[in-house]
Symmetry: C2
Subunit: 77 residues, 2 copies
């Protein structure tokens, strides 16, 4: 099964949301991507529609922004 991708930047809101999503969906069904550390994946996230982190890209291509930790622009800076 195709995984969801959880994009985050290590912020407190990100980490809290990560715990919730893993608890709800299961770690084996999510790829966790820290775009603050893997900057080359920022454009991938943007192209998918991610505007802020934390965000979950679902297997069918929709983005759920989960609360608000930081904008993509702030992560780039």
């Amino acid at each position: 099964m195709k995984k969801s991708i959880f994009y985050h930047a290590g912020c407190p809101v990100c980490i809290s949301a990560e715990h919730e999503i893993i608890s709800l969906i299961g770690a084996e069904r999510i790829e966790i991507v820290h775009i603050g550390e893997e900057k080359k994946r920022i454009s991938e996230a943007e192209n998918a529609g991610v505007q802020s982190v934390p965000a979950l890209l679902t297997p069918n291509g929709h983005v759920l922004h989960l609360n608000f930790g930081a904008s993509i622009e702030a992560v780039k800076a």
Copy 2:
């Protein structure tokens, strides 16, 4: 197992997020509450920390605001 509660107000963003969350978590694990129709449950949502809809209250009491459809204030109006 305790269910999550998905609060929404029937808005397009709400309905899209509802589909995603049901697909990810399973309908049997979520109670769906339309606070535009069940106004008496607005205070329950607010007390749980819901500031806008759609939002998911997880079994351990955390709120995940999923994208942004409408503020609670707008739903009350």
